[in-house]
Amino acid sequence: MDEMKVVDKSLDSDRIEYDTTQFIVIKLGNEQYGIDIQYIDNILRMQNITRVPKVAPYLKGAINLRGEVIPVMSIRQKMGLPADEITKATRIIILKLEQHGMIGIMVDEVKEVVTLNNGEIEKVSYDNKEEKTTFISGIGKEDGNLISLLDLNAVVAEKENA
């Protein structure tokens, strides 16, 4: 993004000096998604979620994290994917977002941490009318794999008539 910074650096150090971002790679179905690591507070194993009535169906309920009650949402349902199948690999990622506070999202699997520099992140084009793309802020390319980078604020934002 901010390439001005590296103008006077030699070519060698460019690679390191490039603004890089670390992402946690998660799986939803067969697709890989990346979550910016700076917004992640914690990753928990699946646990009993207390259902909260009368809320949007993608909100699965609340859990207890060290004495705090934190809402948990199903990112699958939010994105219009088939409902979660809870397996041993299922994790709850606790996100800490400035406007939204703490919230947990359920993911099928947490794979790894990748470091992408800005050159490897491609902005998403918005001519695609599919709803899913609104949750994605960019595509990351890592060793030939494509990782959809989640726009967390969009994911977490409350959806009208959901």
Binding site: N48, T50, R51, V52, P53, K54, V55, L59, G61, A62, I63, N64, G67, E68, V69, I70, P71, M73, H100, G101, M102, I103, E158
Partner: protein
């Protein structure tokens, strides 16, 4: 003295004194002759002055001093209290309050000298007692004359108090004292050079002198003396009604004091600041003869310089000190806490010993657990009590406000208050002031009719406003009631339609009560004209949102022509409540014990249908049934033929029956917020964490009505 550490206490006490003065002066207005009140006022004014002086707030000190003088004359019977006096006194209190507020924000009293008020105060003084003090004044002067001549030149050199610089307010205080026949003395105290604890000796001198009079100025400053930042002498200026001799004697009687010189201070000379430098010069020349004096003189000068610098830096760096909110705690409450904590430790210890000894029986273990439980419950209660303060601190300012409103609105009214000792959580008490003020202003401005209208309607000419506070179960109720015109539901309805808040069809269906509740919606003011007091269209909705932020609620009852009542209901605590745990399907919910009336066992035959809604008839009242499993979208386990467990909850005068599957027992729960995601779900007021770490939701029975 470094006073910053005392700032909190000062603010607390200053506010207390101001409040006290406010109340007392109101009393005084009613009974201008009451000696007790006058004495009390005098005392409060005096302590306020002392505190302001200690903290170095000169302007505040001057103002309180003048005020105190007025009271002193009132006390001596030289002045009678008139309405105009009271008005000026209130102005004075407002000015003092401004100082205090400034201090709270910036640790600085501000620069408002409030000269008109001081002038007015002095006018009161001079108006009646201008002659008397003058006579008194001459006497001490005569006395002072011969003493002065006695002084040898050598002693004059030692009279370092001549070099004390007085600022305007101090000069003012001194001349004021003089005009009242008090003597002003300058003292210079020399401590033996072998003395180790100079500061302590100086302190004793201070104390001894204070027995006779009041120390106005000291040099070096009291702070520097306390920190031993002085050589072996210091100087004081003292105001006293006693002759000089005993004061000198008292000061000398402190051990390790070498010498005390003193004389009557001629204010005119002392006030002549040009002389100040001259004195220094004289000292310089006198020094030639005795080298010892040089050593004394020089550090003194540097000390004053330092002091000047200090005060300058203090001013420039006077940023915003964060004054922490404090609760004054009754020592008894702390003792209770201490006792409970010791019990807790004992309980822990016996648990430890239980586990270490072999063959622990389950019963004794359970006993210990039960003991622990009772201790923690009591502990919680005590901690809660520590946080509780009477609402007195808030409501006490209202009589004054009503008095001012009375003048402003030109309506006669009276405020009656009960239950000022009702206690609430400190955080709530801090917040409740504004909403109550809104309601009272509203009652005074819109509620009460003008005196003429009242007379026409056959009501007592003087309007009444009532403020009643009382505890009701787990709630505290505060009612603001007036005997005015009440709320005209029709007028509200018209206005609401006109503003598009509701449609005409909606209005047709609404009950008067519902319409009156429209008043609580944002920007809805029915006042025909905006007045200075209220009616700006902000107000009632602010009241509502503020109260709701404190998890309370507002209710209005009104009868046209007879007055209206605003009822504020607030929870006693915000954090921990007693709750009944129930299960519905396989989910657990908590219902606040405060809202539960009874628990009933109902057979299916008892359920009747009214307007297609299920109700039960219980001891003469018809209570609507709410099936929680339907409300909460849970599949109930019970079959249709089983008896129903019904929890009867109340909200105000209304009752409702909640059908649950199973009662799990009473439990103390800690309320946790669910966050904004589930705020939309009104039935759930929060969540709590159970012993096994699971989250259970708290049902807000109030929203089910």
């Amino acid at each position: 003295m470094d006073t910053s550490q005392y700032l909190e206490i000062f603010l607390d006490e200053a506010k207390e004194h101001l409040q006290n003065l406010n109340t007392q002066i109101l009393d005084l207005e009613q009974e201008p002759e009451n000696m007790d009140t006058i004495n009390e006022i005098f005392r409060a004014a005096h302590s306020l002055k002392g505190m302001a002086g200690t903290m170095g707030y000169k302007r505040m000190q001057t103002l309180t001093h003048d005020m105190e003088n007025v009271f002193s004359e009132v006390r001596n019977g030289n002045i009678t209290v008139q309405a105009s006096t009271i008005d000026i006194l209130f102005q004075c209190l407002d000015a003092l309050e401004e100082y205090v507020n400034n201090i709270q924000e910036s640790a600085d009293e501000g620069t408002n000298e409030n000269e008109p008020i001081i002038k007015a105060l002095n006018q009161i003084l001079n108006g009646s007692s201008a002659d008397e003090p003058k006579q008194e004044k001459e006497e001490p002067k005569k006395k002072a004359e011969p003493e002065k001549t006695k002084k040898s030149d050598e002693e004059n050199g030692k009279q370092k108090w001549h070099s004390i610089k007085l600022d305007d307010s101090e000069k003012h205080v001194l001349s004021e004292a003089k005009s009242k026949g008090m003597n002003v003395y300058g003292l210079s105290v020399y401590i033996e050079e072998t003395c180790i604890l100079k500061a302590a000796r100086a302190f004793l001198v201070f104390k001894a002198v204070e027995d006779y009079g009041e120390i106005i100025v000291s040099q070096p400053s009291a702070q520097d003396i306390e920190d031993e930042k002085f050589e072996y002498e210091f100087s004081l200026i003292v105001v006293s009604d006693q002759p000089l001799e005993p004061i000198l004697k008292a000061a000398k009687s402190v051990s390790e004091i070498q010498e005390v010189v003193g004389d009557v201070l001629n204010i005119e000379a002392g006030a002549d600041k040009e002389n100040g430098t001259e004195v220094h010069k004289e000292e310089g020349t006198a020094v030639e003869t005795s080298p010892k004096e040089v050593a004394k003189g020089v550090p003194q000068q540097t000390a004053t310089k330092k002091e000047n610098k200090k005060s300058q830096t203090a001013k420039s760096t006077g940023g915003k000190p964060v004054v922490n909110r404090t609760v004054r705690v009754d020592i008894e409450k702390l003792d209770d806490l201490m006792n409970l904590v010791s019990e807790l430790i004992i309980a822990k210890n016996s648990l430890v010993s239980q586990t270490s000894t072999e063959g622990t029986s389950a019963t004794s273990f359970n006993e210990q657990i039960e003991y622990l439980e009772s201790v923690t419950t009591n502990l919680h209660e005590s901690v809660m009590k520590v946080r509780m303060v009477p609402i007195e601190s808030v409501v006490n300012k209202f009589p004054r406000m009503i008095r001012d409103l009375q003048k402003k609105l030109n309506k006669k009214m009276e405020l009656y208050m009960t239950g000022e000792d009702t206690e609430l959580d400190r955080t709530v008490v801090d917040e409740i002031g504004d909403p109550l003020m809104h309601l009272l202003r509203n009652a005074a401005d819109h509620g009460l009719e003008t005196n003429e209208v009242r007379k026409e309607r056959g009501k007592p000419e003087i309007g009444s406003i009532f403020l009643d506070a009382y505890q009701d179960g787990n709630n505290v109720v505060i009612e603001v009631r007036d005997d005015g015109n009440g709320i005209d539901a029709e007028a509200v309805k018209e206005k609401a339609i006109e503003r598009g808040t509701i449609t005409e069809e909606q209005a047709m269906k609404m009950s008067d009560k519902e319409i009156i509740n429209l008043l609580l919606l944002p920007s809805f003011s029915t006042a025909k004209e905006v007045t200075d007091v209220s009616g700006r269209g902000v107000g009632l909705d602010v009241v509502k949102s503020k109260i709701e932020a404190l998890s309370g609620e507002v209710e209005v009852k009104s009868k046209l022509g007879e007055g209206s009542t605003w009822i504020i209901r607030l929870p006693l605590t915000l954090a921990i409540i007693q709750a009944l745990m129930v299960s519905i399907g396989n989910e657990k919910y908590a219902i606040s014990l405060g809202s539960i009336q009874t628990i009933e066992d109902i057979t299916p035959q008892d359920i009747k249908l009214v307007e297609n809604k299920e109700v039960i008839h219980l001891r003469g009242t018809v209570i609507p049934l709410i099936r929680l499993n339907e409300v909460l979208d849970i599949e109930s386990q019970g079959s249709a033929d089983d008896n129903l467990i019904v929890v009867i909850v109340k909200k105000g005068d209304n009752l409702a029956g909640l059908v649950v599957d199973e009662l799990m027992g009473q439990q103390e729960i800690v309320i946790k917020s669910l966050g904004k995601y589930v705020n939309k779900c009104k039935i759930i007021s929060g969540a709590t964490i159970l012993g096994d770490g699971e989250v259970a939701l708290i049902l807000d029975a109030n929203t089910l009505f």
